[in-house]
């Protein structure tokens, strides 16, 4: 039988862990709400931009802009979006697993990796992949400029001809309980053949000029979307993980308390037996 002091110490430590997990859950919930708001705000801008591109792209020549160039795919860059911190359930491991599988399908030597978040950096560094850029320590004050900075690096990597295709692996925020790991092709831009531009619409200075300034902006806002989705997913995953941890520790405290009471009773019983048998021996 475990001794009383050991059990008491364990109850104490589990209780203090529970306090931590509870607090982390609250923090994650608050951050998630903010991230969701940001996503809502970003949506109209990105959807209008995509719509204009979709209308215009069939009407312009792809040679107009190097960003629209479609080349034979020899080398591919992967942008892997993870968090800086753990304790978020399978949030990071599922992104990393998917990215790893897809990279190995193409062949490690033909892939460049952009690591967003410490988890991706650590994972691909130890395994000796070609890491081109890493972006860490920005999640706590995430803003649009980060998206621009990350986006610029990726775009120039494509423009310099180092890679012929860019894919992004990230967690999409479906709802609090569900995050979906997705791979999306960022470059070259692809659009289904739409109905074309709205007739009788004025384009100024010209369709070509508009596409030229639209495409880079579109990529920035896409990058922003990936970051926001991933951030919201991270917080949701952490919230659920901490919720589970809190209820597990609740169960543990219950079990330990039961064990503690049993041990206490056993100790009292033994003591009483000793006293009684001692008294009897005196008679």
């Amino acid at each position: 039988m475990a001794n009383l002091k050991d059990i008491r110490d364990r109850i104490k430590s589990v209780t203090s862990i529970q306090k931590v997990t509870k607090a982390m859950k609250m923090v994650a919930a608050a951050k998630m709400r903010r991230a969701q708001e940001n996503m809502e705000q970003a949506r109209p801008y990105s959807s209008r931009l995509s719509e204009i591109i979709q209308n215009l792209l069939p009407e312009v020549d792809r040679d107009l802009l190097p960003l629209l160039e479609v080349r034979d795919v020899n080398r591919v860059a992967f942008v892997v979006v993870t968090s800086d911190k753990g304790l978020a359930g399978s949030f990071n491991s599922s992104v990393l697993r998917k990215a790893h599988l897809e990279i190995d399908e193409i062949g490690k030597e033909n892939v460049d990796v952009f690591c967003i978040g410490k988890k991706a950096r650590d994972y691909f560094k130890t395994r000796g992949y070609n890491i081109v850029e890493t972006h860490v320590d920005f999640w706590s004050d995430l803003n649009f400029n980060h998206a621009i900075k990350i986006g610029n690096g990726i775009v120039s990597h494509f423009l310099n001809g180092h890679v012929d295709e860019i894919r992004v692996v990230y967690n999409e925020f479906v709802n609090v309980a569900t995050q979906m790991v997705l791979t999306e092709k960022l470059l070259p831009l692809e659009y289904e053949e739409g109905e074309g531009a709205v007739a009788d619409r004025l384009y100024e200075p010209s369709k070509d000029e508009i596409v030229k300034s639209l495409v880079p902006r579109h990529l920035n806002v896409q990058m922003w979307k990936y970051l926001l989705e991933s951030f919201a997913s991270e917080q949701a995953a952490r919230m659920v993980a901490m919720e589970n941890a809190t209820s597990n520790s609740e169960d543990m405290i219950k079990d330990l308390t039961l064990e503690f009471n049993k041990a206490r009773q056993a100790a009292i019983t033994t003591e009483m037996l000793e006293i009684v048998s001692g008294a009897e021996a005196l008679n």
Partner: protein, 131 residues
């Protein structure tokens, strides 16, 4: 005079200006004005000042460029940044002007076009803030 609905949309927020009678935007080919029942258009915007007339009063904003999408229902300005004249932090704008100038004159290998663009944006913000 007719009014129309104006929305200024950025990646981080939406500014519902509501019913306005006139808006002047900094097009890349020179500034242009929009009044009610304008024909449908998509016009690219550069760095400059947006002037909105609402209920006889003029409101000014600084922007770093984007697009104006004009339809019969409403006018949407899709811009990367927007700041209303009274919100502009002049000391920050002045600081970025001197930073950009420093970059352009320094002998180190810096991206001159980027520094120039930054300078242009900062000068514009300072100009609009004096409105």
């Amino acid at each position: 005079m007719g009014t129309f609905n104006l929305e200024i949309v950025t990646p981080t927020r939406i500014l519902e200006a509501g019913d306005v009678s006139y808006v002047r935007c900094p097009g890349t080919d020179g500034s242009f004005g929009v009044m009610a029942s304008h024909r449908d258009a998509v016009i690219s915007l550069g760095v400059g000042e947006i002037k909105v007339t609402q209920g006889g009063k003029d409101i000014f904003f600084a922007t770093s460029g984007g697009f104006a999408e004009i339809t019969s229902e409403k006018v949407q300005l899709l811009v990367e940044t927007v700041e209303s004249a009274k919100d502009i932090d002049t000391s920050r704008a002045e600081a970025s002007i001197s930073r950009a100038k420093g970059r352009m004159t320094s002998k180190e290998d810096v991206d001159d076009t980027r520094a120039e663009a930054a300078l242009q944006r900062a000068v514009n913000r300072l100009k609009v803030s004096k409105r």
